[in-house]
């Protein structure tokens, strides 16, 4: 089968960008979307032209490197998957596919489909951890954790930090990302001592990085490749309220 591509090309964060058209690209249904881009790039390289720049590494939906807006949807059609898990069998012969980078003020374009998501790292650096010096830990079974809490913490912990939630949000908010980390650690006994300070520090950093505020659109949940739900945002908001009222930590 053949598809036509419209791919966003942009030299750098301040350079103007534009779509480049590739028509009649030969594909097979078993190919992944990124393998299709590899093919396009091999052709470009053979012609001495610069390939389309995009991030990818694991190509199995876990590292969070890949991501682009495909036909208006973060990570493309299909629920709960990353761009690298999208296969060409999701398209029809003759389709024209539009591919753009994440668009958010806090994620400046580096080149083409590659964006700078280091703001996510800075949010974690601000408080997204449990302080536990190496070697100081008690026996792992010293604190039993009920399966329901462990499972709920786990569901939040599956976040891959890809940024699709930000790309999908009309406000480019990072609340789902932040709430997933605060949910993961805040649901576990180990995370209790820093629960409220962590929530505050991460949200403060998020605001400082230029992400928008959350106004409950819920687009993030729909775009999340790991299916992380907005209920974690509600939980984070409760923690923030408690922190602000001083009810926590005492």
């Amino acid at each position: 089968m053949k598809v036509n591509l419209r791919i966003w090309r942009q030299k750098g964060p301040d350079a103007p960008g534009a779509f480049q058209d590739f028509s009649g690209v030969e594909v097979v249904p078993e190919m992944s979307f990124l393998e299709m881009l590899d093919e396009v790039n091999r052709d470009l390289e053979a012609k001495g032209q610069e390939p389309v720049v995009f991030d990818s590494d694991c190509r199995e939906g876990i590292c969070g490197s890949c991501g682009a807006v495909v036909d208006g949807t973060a990570h493309g059609p299909g629920r709960q998957q990353t761009l690298c898990q999208l296969h060409m069998r999701s398209f029809q012969d003759g389709d024209t596919i539009t591919v753009e980078p994440w668009r958010a003020a806090a994620f400046p374009v580096v080149r083409d489909l590659m964006v700078d998501r280091s703001a996510f790292d800075r949010i974690i650096q601000a408080g997204g951890y449990v302080t536990a010096r190496t070697g100081s830990a008690p026996d792992a079974n010293a604190v039993p954790i009920g399966k329901p809490e462990a499972d709920a913490a786990f569901d939040a912990a599956t976040c891959i930090g890809c940024g699709a939630c930000v790309a999908a949000c009309p406000n480019a908010s990072a609340m789902l990302f932040v709430s997933a980390k605060s949910g993961h650690l805040g649901l576990l006994p180990q995370g209790q001592p820093q629960r409220y300070s962590r929530a505050e520090a991460m949200v403060q950093t998020m605001d400082g990085e230029g992400f928008g505020g959350c106004s409950n659109h819920g687009e993030c949940e729909a775009a999340c490749p790991k299916g992380i739900g907005v209920s974690y945002i509600a939980r984070l908001n409760r923690d923030l309220l408690r922190a602000a009222s001083g009810a926590a930590s005492k």
Binding site: V28, G48, C63, Q85
Partner: protein, 637 residues
Amino acid sequence: MKLDSRAPDGPIETAWDRHRQAIRLVNPANKRKYHVIVVGTGLAGASAAATLAQLGYNVSSFCFQDSPRRAHSIAAQGGINAAKNYQNDGDSVFRLFYDTVKGGDFRAREQNVYRLAQVSVNIIDQCVAQGVPFARDYGGLLANRSFGGALVSRTFYARGQTGQQLLLGAYQALSEQVGAGKVKLHSRTELLDVVLVDGKAKGIITRDLVTGEVKRWAADAVVLATGGYGNVFYLSTNAKGCNVTATWRAYKKGAGFANPCFTQIHPTCIPVMGEHQSKLTLMSESLRNDGRVWVPKQPGDMRRPRDIPEAERDYYLERIYPTFGNLVPRDVASRAAKRMVDEGHSVVAGGAGVYLDFRDAIKRLGHDVVSDRYGNLFDMYERITGDSPYETPMRIYPASHYTMGGLWVDYNLMTSVSGLYAIGEANFSDHGANRLGASALMQGLADGYFVLPYTIGDFLAGEKAGFNDTAHAAFDEAERNVKGQVDRLLGIKGKTSADVFHRRLGKIVWDGCGMARTKESLGKALTEIPALREEFWSDVSVPGTGADLNQSLERAGRVADFLEFAEVLCRDALTREESCGGHFREEHQHPDGEARRDDVNFQHGAVWGYEGEGNAPTRHTEPLDFRYVHPSTRSYK
């Protein structure tokens, strides 16, 4: 090359304690005066950088991804071993040690392996304290599963995402130190050379992958945690970016490269389906806990699996290895699959594959239990193949997965270059000729959290702190070489993408030095590789410039190193005239097809030393001594 293992003598149970007593320490007040470079942010690198910073050292951390959290370790699925004996099934430090030495086919250093088993229990404690959400039972205690090569249940897991959860734990610990200013983080930065000053590693040269800037970094010691070289086969389960560049450049600066031919082919991967394929996807070994491997008894039987009656199926692992059954170690399972396919029993039309069937598990445990254990793996499989493993057996085949070989290190994890350390998959230390499942995560974290942060003190204590002379001639020379290679690649202006060369190299290495090797196949590879390398250097196309972001250049640089490294890999396989672990020489097998080891001539680590451009490398050896686990023929029957 001097290869002093520095492994302590005397009773193995107390070796690590005695060693820690004996080595030099850096005074806590002085630690902040030392600067350590840690390259790599996988389990090994992130845990080491975080722990070194906690101890007070200043650390610079590098990775080529946009965030340390994306290191290849993130993709590990199945689990991590530890001798906790929480299941009360007879596990112990000694048993984990024994299983690992035997599983490695008696090609690892006993003292290192024993230490690994000892600290394994601390790893689990540490990770739980960080908030790693391991699987638990309804009583709230930690759950375990079994992995190949063991008769006890000692594997801790976090659904099918153990690597992700462990790495996030280490990444968060690292991030805390970045926030505190103790670690300087350099993402999207690639190491292109190691700098030696007076024979000691005192810095590195990097290229900023966004701006193209080539930069010098000085430090008091350098740690490489840059992962394995499994992508030499092009198709592998490794992330696309995994490469040999860092360890290869270190080798060219004098670090010995040990046992490159010990590569692991993982038995359960989704088979190759076409030319377009860019990587292979692993289906975790944990699936063999409940899945049964089989092929049709009749060669060429292409009926749908459900239409093949029980009597016409060959559950060959259960048949040949009744004791371990579907849980034989990886090398054994992989070769058995290859044998079945070679004899015509493949279940992939025109290709290679065998079945991994969950029908009986679903019958026995119910859909929900199976889905709870393997749901995300089943989804992953269905996404790629379009088939549901709940309804039809998975099709699987072995693929390149892990590399036991790596930079030679002593008991302190120092390479043969003073001040240069290698940890995690980048070193050769603990797995001998074959790694057991769930042991790489254990080793990476053991090295990073519990070994290197202490042993590095022994070296630093003897160094004047604060080396920062990036104007030294050694930096000039290293930078010149790096820039020279970049210019050379850009100047070729050929017609072929580096990716195409990589794929061709992968095929040569897979055919010549894959699951089964012969003198002839290796000889052929050894003539084809230099020819391909020559073609690469005259026809590779690297558009763009070196002065900004250039992914073609990144790929070409890595392929160039693989093209050199592949030759040493094949040479090592050719000289090791025995079969052991992942290294199977067809000339050396028992009549029943099992590997024949040669302990008289090859009970050693083979360590390759660089002798300069155009010269053959020299082969050195580190003899191995087994006092606790007596070398025997590995039998899983």
